[in-house]
Amino acid sequence: MWRVALAYAREAAEDLFQDLALQLWQSLARFDGRCQLTTWAYRVHLNTAMSWRRRAARRRRLPISDASTDQLGDRAAASADSESANLDSRINQLLASLGETDRAVLLMLLDNVPNEQIADVMGVSEGAIRVRLHRIRKRIEEGEL
């Protein structure tokens, strides 16, 4: 949950974290056991996080962009006197360069979620997820992202 909060709202991760927990709590009563609890939790987290970002962008009258993470990345890069600042900046830029759904897929990949479950969370076929993950991996390894 904390990782989702960091990935979708680096500058306001605490706020988003509270919102994720709130949504999880409120949705718990509707859990019907038709999917794994982790799948269900991922759905709640990712949908809430994506909605949260869109709402935050509207409130600030910003395009739904990664301006905040870009800025954070730039700031971190500017004061890149330590390895962790560089890493932080790199991850921010990486997340900023991904679209909303790619970011969700990457987060689940980093959490070792199986492809089948990622497909279930996203609501698309497993094949589509496999191809998407392959592309993301390739782009990361080639340094494109």
Binding site: W2, L6, S27, S84, S97, L98
Partner: protein
């Protein structure tokens, strides 16, 4: 950097920033607050309808011109219709976060479409029924010059509300919908292009 390095890096960052622990008391308070807020909102809207209904319904017991009484009846019916439409519409188009991302985006787009449709037709389902009832009430009750002034003022207010609603559609709802549709379409594509980033072009 490969995926494994990225994983390790993110884990290190997460470990650095694990101060975001779930505070169950805060969450419980937030749940209670949000429930109270929804109850208050429903109570306020239902209360407003009941107040308007009671006020105009009471008029029916007085010995007033037929046009005023008819206007009051229409206004009462319009208040019930508008209140019920808002209440049911809100419940019918609730979006639940436990849907898959695909279904959630579909539901959000459907919800926005519903809101756009409501605001686009606000003249017919909201403003017109109330205006007809109110203006009949006024024209039956007041002398013609005064009724004419009220009518002009009401018309201006009515058009302002309509204009504000159309502005909301153009400036807020339509751009929101376009962005949602882009995200929705990207789910069905094999590669998502982030329109805000020139790094992700492939």
């Amino acid at each position: 950097m490969n995926i494994e390095e990225l994983k390790a890096a993110l884990d290190a960052l997460n470990a650095d920033s694990l101060h975001g622990q779930a505070n169950l008391d805060t969450i419980r308070e937030s749940v209670m607050e949000s429930r109270a807020r929804f109850k208050l909102r429903d109570f306020r809207e239902i209360g407003a309808c009941v107040f308007v209904f009671a006020g105009f319904f009471a008029v029916l017991s007085f010995d007033l011109p037929w046009m005023t009484q008819l206007g009051a009846m229409i206004y009462c019916c319009a208040a019930i219709f508008v209140g019920t439409s808002i209440y049911l519409g809100r419940r019918r188009h609730r979006v639940f976060p436990e849907l898959s991302v695909h279904e959630f985006l579909e539901a959000e787009i459907a919800h926005l479409d519903y809101q756009i449709q409501l605001l686009r037709n606000v003249s017919w389902w909201y403003l017109a029924p109330l205006a007809v009832g109110f203006l009949m009430f006024v024209w039956g009750l007041l002398p013609q010059p005064a009724a004419a002034v009220v009518t002009v003022c009401y018309f201006l207010l009515d058009r302002t509300i309509y204009w504000l609603n159309q502005q909301t559609i153009q400036l807020e709802l339509k751009p929101q919908r376009e962005k949602l549709v882009l995200v929705y379409q990207s789910l069905n594509e094999l590669v998502e292009v982030n329109p805000n980033s020139n790094l992700s072009e492939e």
